[in-house]
């Protein structure tokens, strides 16, 4: 009787485990479907010239179509634009770390609680609204779209992510580390700079990578700020292209639709690589 009961329970346990595993696998389906779709469609479009040439002119496209050749050109203008804006958005890293350190150290003060709440709100603000606000703040006074405006939008989007990851990482460090630093006579700033922040480097670095991978695919805020540009440009006060902007432009131009998938695949692989790197660092640092 007892034996039967135990067998019964084990069988139920197994059945539940199977259900849970199936449901878990189900959630992975969309990811793999997207990866597969983009990969299959984009794979053919990737070539050397895809990464060395900018968006093709209408004339070149027409000629290619006339001759029955594949669509020429690539996305190098977008890649350069994205890199330039990201490079400028690095400003968000020290700002975010400082703010995160402040929040972690003063978690009980009212001001810190208020700032923490604002950070949450900022993180939840729709990116299109950040774009339109930066348009009013930067594009209008500068009398034109620019890479600067684009990176301001990206900075605003990256900040809450970096602040949070810094704060969380500092908070999980053992208190003994900070106390040991202070017990040696260090002031709080030095202990933060020489002991706590280095110890938290892994978590903060992971947060920065995730923040970059989060904004690298942002399209809406760049539409109001960077606008786009069909050739490679290094000026930061002029409109500039970005990979996600190109995808949108290709979609709107029936002649260029063949380039959509290559650009999408590039963006997807880039973000995946960043995410995997972030995961790797997080794991390495936790050991």
């Amino acid at each position: 009787m007892d034996k039967l009961k135990i067998q019964n329970r084990l069988a139920k346990d197994k059945a539940m485990k199977l259900v849970v595993c199936l449901l878990a696998a189900l959630t992975a389906v969309p990811l793999f479907a997207i990866l597969g779709e983009v990969f299959l469609r984009g794979y053919d479009q990737l070539s050397w010239t895809f990464f060395t040439e900018p968006t093709p002119t209408a004339y070149r496209v027409m000629k290619a179509i006339e001759n029955g050749e594949p669509i020429p050109g690539g996305i190098v203008n977008g890649i350069v634009g994205t890199m330039i804006m990201l490079a400028m958005a690095v400003v968000a890293v020290p700002l975010g770390i400082l703010c995160g350190a402040f929040l972690a150290e003063n978690s009980k003060s009212r001001f810190a609680k208020f700032v923490s709440y604002l950070t949450d709100l900022l993180q939840g603000t729709p990116s299109v609204i950040i774009g339109i606000v930066v348009y009013i703040w930067v594009v209008v006074p500068m009398k034109g779209y620019s890479a600067i405006a684009g990176s301001v939008a990206l900075i605003i989007m990256m900040l809450p992510l970096i602040i949070r990851s810094t704060e969380e990482t500092l908070k999980i460090l053992p208190a003994s580390l900070k106390e040991a630093g202070l017990a040696l006579g260090g002031n709080r700033a030095r202990v933060m700079l020489k002991v706590q922040l280095p110890a938290a480097f892994g978590g903060i670095f992971t947060g920065v990578l995730l923040a970059i991978s989060r904004v690298i695919g942002e399209t809406a805020p760049l539409m109001f700020t960077a606008l786009g540009c069909s050739f490679v440009r290094y000026a930061i006060d002029k409109p500039i292209s970005a990979v996600p902007l190109l995808i949108w432009e290709f979609f709107n131009d029936p002649n260029l639709q063949e380039l959509i998938w290559g650009a999408s695949l590039f963006l997807l692989l880039f973000v995946l690589t960043l995410n995997l790197t972030a995961k790797y660092f997080a794991k390495k640092w936790n050991q």
Partner: protein, 255 residues
């Protein structure tokens, strides 16, 4: 008997975590230089709290109040700058906490870098060698000074932490159960080391281990519920305790 000038003096020291409860109640005691004083008592009796008051660790937590006086060389530390106090009063924690991102070499010198004091290369080398030798770690690590301190064993890490504290040439060294996370061999090492160190520094050690207190200390405090019940020569306290509560604790019937 000639009286020695005390290095540390508690005068009605009180520590409270909340308005209603006091964790340390009116402790008064005089500590003579170059002695080892063991602070004993059951868990929660306030011994760590008292110890942490000496290097103003409680200042980190705004809810904690410290009242009374604690005199270091005659000066009340409660009205001194924490940074100045902590340079004169080193601390070793229960769990060895070498700074994980620093090499062994830089760990020993961390007191200087955290105070923004620059040393020449020769001064640095000399300090590192002196301090690691005084904790008997030099021979074990002299070839791996540039490796991270976290690769060392627990006992070695704790000795590194002591070396780090000694590098600042403190007057007083506070040790909060420094061997409770270590195995017996590492513990024996540290105990032996403390005997040597008492020549240069006054040690206050919180310990749960009565055998340890007996082996290493010349004076002992017994605390109970925040009060300093008894304070005197270790030998006298262990053989002939005055207070009934001390007797009960020492015979293992409490704690």
């Amino acid at each position: 008997m000639e009286s020695v000038k005390p290095i540390l003096e508690f005068k009605k020291t009180c520590v409270s975590y909340t308005k209603q409860t006091m964790a340390v109640k009116y402790v008064s005691a005089v500590i003579e230089p170059n002695t080892i004083t063991a602070i004993m008592g059951p868990s929660g009796c306030g011994k760590s709290t008292l110890l942490r008051a000496v290097n103003l660790m409680h200042n980190l937590y705004p809810n904690i109040r410290v009242d009374g006086e604690i005199l270091l060389n005659g000066e009340n530390i409660l009205s001194m700058e924490p940074i100045d106090v902590r340079r004169k009063v080193g601390m070793v924690f229960q769990r060895p906490a070498p700074f994980p991102t620093m090499s062994i070499y830089n760990n020993v010198l961390s007191g200087y870098s955290l105070n923004g004091i620059r040393l020449s290369k020769t001064e640095k080398d000399a300090t590192v060698e002196r301090c690691l030798k005084s904790v008997a770690l030099w021979d074990e690590v002299k070839d791996v000074l540039n490796k991270k301190g976290t690769f060392l064993s627990g006992g070695q890490q704790q000795r590194l932490c002591i070396a780090r504290a000694l590098a600042m040439k403190p007057d007083v060294l506070l040790m909060d159960e420094p061997t409770s996370a270590l195995d017996p061999i590492a513990t024996a090492h540290i105990e032996e080391l403390m005997q040597e160190l008492q020549k240069e520094v006054t040690i206050l050690i919180v310990t749960h281990n009565m055998g340890q207190a007996m082996r290493i200390s010349s004076k002992s405090m017994f605390m109970y519920l925040g009060e300093l019940v008894e304070y005197g020569d270790t030998e006298t306290m262990f053989t002939n305790p005055i207070d009934e509560r001390t007797k009960v604790y020492l015979t293992g019937k409490m704690g």
